[in-house]
Amino acid sequence: MQIIVVDALIVERGGRRVLDNLSLTVKAGEIYALLGGNGAGKSTTLSALLGFLKPVSGSLSVAGVDPASNAEAARHKIAYLPENVALYEHLTARENVEYFLALAGEAHGPEEIEAAFDAAGLQAEARDRPLGGYSKGMRQKVAIALAVVRQVPVLLLDEPTSGLDPRATADFNALIGALKERGTAILMVTHDLLGAADCADRIGFLDNGRIVEEVACDQGYDVMALHRRYGEAVAA
Amino acid sequence: MNPIRLIAADEWRLMRRNRVAMLGLVMLLALSVIAALTSIAQRDNSDAIRARFQAQADQAFDGAPARHPHRMVHYGHFVFRPLPALAAFDPGVDAFTGNTIYLEGHRQNSANFGDVRQSSLLVRFGQLTPAFVLQALAPLILIFIGFGIVARERERGTIRQLFAHGVAPRALLFGKALGLGGIAALMLAPGVLALGWLIAFEGAPLAPSLTLLAGYAAYLGIWVLLIVIASSLAAHARTALMALIGIWAFTVILLPRIAPDVALATNPTLTRLETDIAIKEDLRKMGDSHNPDDPYFNAFKQRTLKQYGVEKVEDLPVNYRGLLAVEGEKLTSKLFDDYADRQFAAQKAQSRFTDTVGLLSPAIALRRLSMSAAGTDLEGHRRFLSQAEGYRFAIVQQLNQLQATAITYDDDSNRNKDPEAGRRVRIDPKNWQKVPDFRYQAAATGEKLQAALPGMLTLLGWLVVLGFGMRLAIRRLADAA
């Protein structure tokens, strides 16, 4: 089932066309990695899905809801992890989760939250410590726990593995793998081709606001060739 | 160029390109110029008006017609407190004290028509004078310009680069201080020009003017160091800004207001009304001139008769009523002095208390120094009050003496019954011209400087303490890098 549908999307910012006829889909239980360099339109895509900007034309759907016309309902279906998961440093992991759940207007019992922390792999002893002392990987686990407890159909990830050490990256990949198993549609934007190749089911290459090539893992592809083709543009 | 000068020059270039900093600086300079111009004009105007009123009062006194001298005692005189030239820089308490007193026999009137009672509450927001601009506003503008002076470099990581290029933390901080100090010097410039004008054209005394200048320079220096230290110790520029605004609000706005409240509560003074009643009561205890059997005045009578070797007051070669007036005025004047001394002592104790609080607030210390050097402190007003009282006593006694010598006892006793006697007691108006005019003697330079000294020492103490603060900041900076 297609959970995320972007069709012929055109978005302009300050008179400049940032997304130019962008189309992509993500199914339930699928991880889609959107690769591109700076200014390719990665963040704009996420913003459009979150309903932060109105497209000029084209259509969007998040679990059957159009974020352009009903942003609130769409956000209700989305868990979003910004590049640097920034939560409240002076609150504990549990308090942060409770706070954001309240903001989203969702009520979940302490057992559910505890279970989500377990699922996200956050050590029990860290859950009641203020976030100030957390590493990036741990913060992401808190944010994942938030996504897990909300049981949302869509997870948007912005550069999730940048700044993570290899061990934490492996942990993270395992984690979103588990979410995928639960049927979550996951869209990640990144400029790390090798990282994306490790976990994504499909990879779309974004340049100047449109997908120039799309590859699927089950069909096999030559990572090195892709790297030669896009490595330079993507890293920029 | 040495690294300190290099860093300062770099800072200036940066500030020139910083629109906010330039705007603040230009605003402050404009305010300084406006304050200096209006303050000088206002001082000249006030002083001219007071001089004109004084001349008018002198003329009225000298031109009074033939009168009984005691009538002149009650006609009295007006004296006006001249405004020192440096009041154009710092008017101090001038607006809060009356500038004219009506002097008459056996009464002590208050100094009236102070500006504060003639103004709406706007005057309590502070008067725009060079002193106010430099005391209150300049530090805040310096804070806006300088709060990020070191913190900014650290936040952007450029500080490590500087250290990597061999700049010593010491040179960095002193260079920054020199850079900000240059801005402070620029802020001081309109004040310096105003002082120069006052010295050159309005007869402002040199040494007190230079003391003022030194005091304000030290004060701004204190803020420069405070800002550099806070900016280098704070984790973020914003923390430095908040802390510095907090320090400013506490020392410049809050403490100067809290200290008087405590001083008033711990050293209460009598109201005029109570003083008035107490003096009357004391007078009645000493001797009641209305009572023919009063022991004090009887003793005085006997003493006088014995001195002249006569039996009855009618036989005295002088007018006994005049002698009585002289004696009575002596008694009241003594009491006036006693009560005034007590009042001044209590007020001095109050002011001393606020001076002690000034150890915590450079703004209070500077205000003490500034008002003292300008001659516009409470002490200046006290000098005026006590000189006016001295003058009052002198002219009243001169007139009482005239009553004793120029009028016969017989005429004086019958002046209301016998029209001829009534005419004879009106003595030649030339006598009024012999009464000297009031000349206010301002404090000598030495006295002003002495009064300014505690403030100056406090400011220097702050500079020394902040010198140590700089050392601490340098060490912390070196450790962090």
Binding site: - | F53, P260, R284
Partner: protein, 418 residues
């Protein structure tokens, strides 16, 4: 939703600056209310303290005056106390009460020479202004608003949370409203609760206290709006803080000082000195003028005494009190001009108040607490009418030459305690 409010409160109170700022605001508010109440208590005590002293002074005069029973002496030597009771709200806005006298003794002689007497106060202590609640509200509270609101959005943006907050919140507007509400609500509580307790203890009327509360809330709201407006420009927290503090400097210090300068030059008042000089010349000129001339002029104002025994000889109290009063009449135009000058200054200040929130706030607070320039003028009016009563009381004794006895002293009109 109460849960959300609870979460926001926890979030807010755990912030490094929040609780200390609110506690400090409350502390300053409590201290200012306490200091103001102590000062007003002191003024009330002084008014109470002078009563027995005044009575003893009158009794001592009565003792010797009543021997001869000369009403002229009684009127000449007896001073009558007047006082200006502080209003119940004066503690919160002391205003001009520390520099304008609130007690004054007068006698039945020329009033213009007595009306402008000033009090013995330490000018160095008055110079910086009082530490009262109005000061805390006008000057310090805006700084606290700035501390609490300058980084409302920019802080979240700089911490990188703004996107997450926007993505998570069901209603973004409500989120910010809650946050602003908590901050401003907390600040207002810290500021107003001590005032309300002080007002209750002072027995202030709820209506007047409500005026204080409404203008205080409006003033805080103004600063909050300014903070939000600056915050909406998308600048950094540092820029917001510097901009807002600079606005505070301009709005509460620089513009009022410039306004004062402007008012003083547009409306100069020096009639005060002129009128006292004029009054003295008229009064003392009276001694040298033919007595009949003086009496005729006086009878124009008080025809009821025209037919009393004519003045003869060198001196008579009738004539003396007549020229005292004529001195006041002669100075009346200057006195009127002086007063109008003061009122004009006050009016101009009111006009500035429409443009400058701090000035408007102070105007309303001090007008409501009756501690402004106008309150001083009203006190002077009351003294004028009391002085008239006093003269009317003494005139029958003086003009009908009725002996003034000890019992007559207590018949003198008493100052009405408001």
């Amino acid at each position: 939703m109460t849960g959300l409010w609870r979460h926001e409160l926890r979030l807010f109170l755990r912030q490094r600056l929040a609780l200390p700022a609110l506690a400090l605001m409350a502390l300053l508010s409590i201290a200012s209310v306490w200091a103001g109440m102590a000062e007003i208590e002191r003024q009330r005590d002084t008014i109470a303290r002078i009563q027995p002293q005044q009575a003893a002074d009158v009794a001592a005069i009565a003792k010797w005056v009543s021997v001869e029973g000369d009403a002229g002496n009684a009127a000449y030597y007896t001073f009558h106390a007047t006082w200006d009771e502080p209003s119940a709200l004066a503690f919160a806005a002391i205003g001009q009460r520390d520099v304008a006298p609130y007690i004054l003794r007068i006698r039945a002689l020329g009033l213009e020479a007595q009306l402008y007497e000033s009090e013995n106060y330490n000018a160095e202590l008055a110079l910086p202004g009082r530490f009262d609640w109005a000061f805390v509200l006008t000057y310090l509270a805006p700084l606290f608003v700035i501390v609490l609101l300058h980084d409302l959005k920019s802080g979240e943006r700089e911490a990188g949370r703004i996107g997450l907050l926007a993505a998570m919140a069901r209603n973004q507007q409500a989120l910010w409203r809650r946050r602003i509400g908590l901050r401003i609500g907390g600040l207002l509580a810290a500021l107003l609760i001590p005032f309300l307790i002080g007002a209750a203890l002072s027995g202030a009327s709820p209506g007047l206290a409500l005026i204080f509360i409404v203008v205080a809330a409006a003033y805080i709201l103004f600063w909050a709006m300014l903070c939000l407006w600056v915050g909406s420009r998308g600048w950094s927290s540092v820029t917001n803080a510097a901009t807002l503090a600079a606005s505070w400097l301009v709005l509460t210090l620089i513009l009022p000082a410039l306004g004062n300068l402007a008012i003083n030059s547009v409306v100069p008042v020096r009639q005060g000195v002129e009128l006292t000089l004029e009054q003295r010349e008229k009064v003392h000129g009276g001694w040298d003028k033919p007595k009949q001339e003086t009496m005729q002029a006086f009878f124009k104002a008080y025809p009821e005494w025209k037919d009393t025994k004519p003045v003869e000889g060198g001196f008579h109290w009738k004539w003396y009190y007549a020229f005292q009063h004529l001195g006041d009449l002669a100075a009346a135009p200057q006195a009127k001009a002086y007063r109008e000058g003061l009122e004009a200054r006050d009016r101009w200040t009111g006009r500035f108040g429409f443009a400058l929130p701090a000035v408007g706030l102070q105007t309303i607070l001090h007008r409501t607490a009756r501690t402004d320039l106008n309150a001083g003028l009203i006190y002077q009016d009351r003294i004028r009418s009391y002085h008239k009563q006093l003269r009317r009381f003494y005139y029958p004794y003086v003009f009908n030459e009725v002996p003034f006895r000890e019992a007559d002293f207590v018949k003198a009109p008493q100052w009405e305690h408001r």
